[in-house]
Assembly symmetry: C2
Homo-oligomer: 270 residues x 2
């Protein structure tokens, strides 16, 4: 089963477009977890167990593991997901981009070392830097297009040949880069108009949409502008809004409530 | 001492613009090293000991460590450099790019966990994704501009407001992004005309230039078009051409000869 099929299955099974971003920051975790031998893994595990029937994907952000010397706990987290919730796809958020021979090593990191189902990548260097990922035809390759952060306009909204750079990326993504039908795009919830424009360019492509919750994106506009004709097509990520919903020993219950609330808010507009 | 000062010192001391890319691939290493307990570290150590008086920097490519589950050997390599050759700066080639709170974690990875002196980053997401690196004023932040790979033109050569995207990057890099005077740019040796154009835009900024050697860049044109007025301004990287110069137990001697040859070829045109 390839990544797009995995997604279609889980959207249906869990009736949810919510992706939980596993971005565990030790300094922000509940005190009751901090003293554990593997605090990051235990924190993730509790949140996963509390939310796995409510989501369409988990998205560990590699920086939080790399920056806290916790590569082992990233591996433990993904192993735990594969063993217990294999129907929920895992997106490893790494935003890699490098020349071909180097990108092959990053693809091995994501797909062999960590067993991710999909990976985020950066388009700035062009197709020969994406190909080592795209060649894994069963895996999803999620390319940055119009990102959720304030200064994304500096490069992404420059206009060349009458269209913005992010639309050039969307154009490649919907044609020459998509030779294995495994391309998705990242479009921030904070730019709903642009989300709609890219949906028009790529009617059937799934989008990963960060930026609801802490970053302020509006859920109704995301669905109205971004969903595909069948009401799917979106992986709507929330990280801080879900994983830090509670701050005491009941943090996992709080994350379940936050996930439920987001799922239901999304579903009322589908 | 900040990164630019470190560079100026080592350019002078070693009379060299050569950077050795430490991209160790187990499958390409001499048989005599493969059976070691820490083959990647021992391979790097031998090459470092053979070349440290001939270079201006070392550039470990993070993907080779991440893809081969060898983060510990990356740390060992940089520790070894710091203990024995602290005058030679270490560039951690990671090409990161992510939203602010995440980029802070990547900056911690590069500058705290691994003690790198400089890091490579991707400009596609704009300044708020670069700021967590730029704020480390003693560290170098080396931003992708015109990369050496064949398909770099797909995005980088699109023309907006009468100039190519890579020139927009160079413009930001020489103004608003450079508030701590710690910005450098990546320009591939395979595009010497573009290297000259960016040199005109940024007369004093050091450039990291990959693409000589295996990728085919021409050394004379790189120096003629890319050097600053004083004959410096360049960190010319060679990875495969140096680290795989030999294939038997004398591989480190061969890497020294290859480094010497590249240094002297460069110096004849300065």
């Amino acid at each position: 089963m390839n990544f797009i099929e995995q997604l279609n299955n889980i959207w249906k099974k869990n009736n949810s477009l919510v992706c939980v971003g596993l971005d565990p920051d030790l300094s922000k975790m509940p005190e009751c977890v901090k003293a554990h031998q593997y605090p990051i893994f235990d924190f993730n595990k509790a949140i996963i167990d509390a939310t796995a029937d409510l989501v369409c994907a988990y998205k560990p952000q590699a920086a939080y593991y790399a920056g806290q010397n916790a590569d082992d706990q990233l591996a433990m987290t993904i192993d735990y997901l594969k063993e217990n919730y294999s129907e929920v796809p895992v997106i490893l958020d790494v935003k890699r981009g490098d020349i071909g021979s180097t990108a092959e090593m990053y693809a091995k990191e994501a797909f062999e070392r960590y067993q991710a189902d999909a990976v985020t990548v950066n388009p700035y260097m062009g197709i020969d830097t994406l190909k080592p990922f795209l060649d894994w035809s069963d895996k999803g390759v999620i390319i940055l297009c119009r990102t959720s952060n304030p200064s994304s306009a500096e490069i992404q909204e420059l206009v060349a040949d009458d269209k913005e750079i992010y639309k050039h990326v969307a154009g490649y993504a919907n044609s020459s880069w998509n030779y294995n039908n495994n391309v998705l795009l990242v479009i921030g919830a904070t730019y709903p108009a642009e989300l709609g424009e890219v949906r028009n360019l790529c009617p059937d492509m799934p989008f990963l949409v960060p930026g609801v919750g802490a970053q302020g994106g509006d859920v109704e506009q995301v669905i109205t502008n971004g969903a595909t004709a069948d009401g799917n097509g979106l992986i709507i990520n929330s990280s801080r809004g879900i994983i830090y919903a509670g701050s005491n020993e009941k943090f996992a219950d709080a994350s379940r409530q936050a996930t439920l609330a987001l799922r239901d808010m999304i579903n009322q507009y589908r």
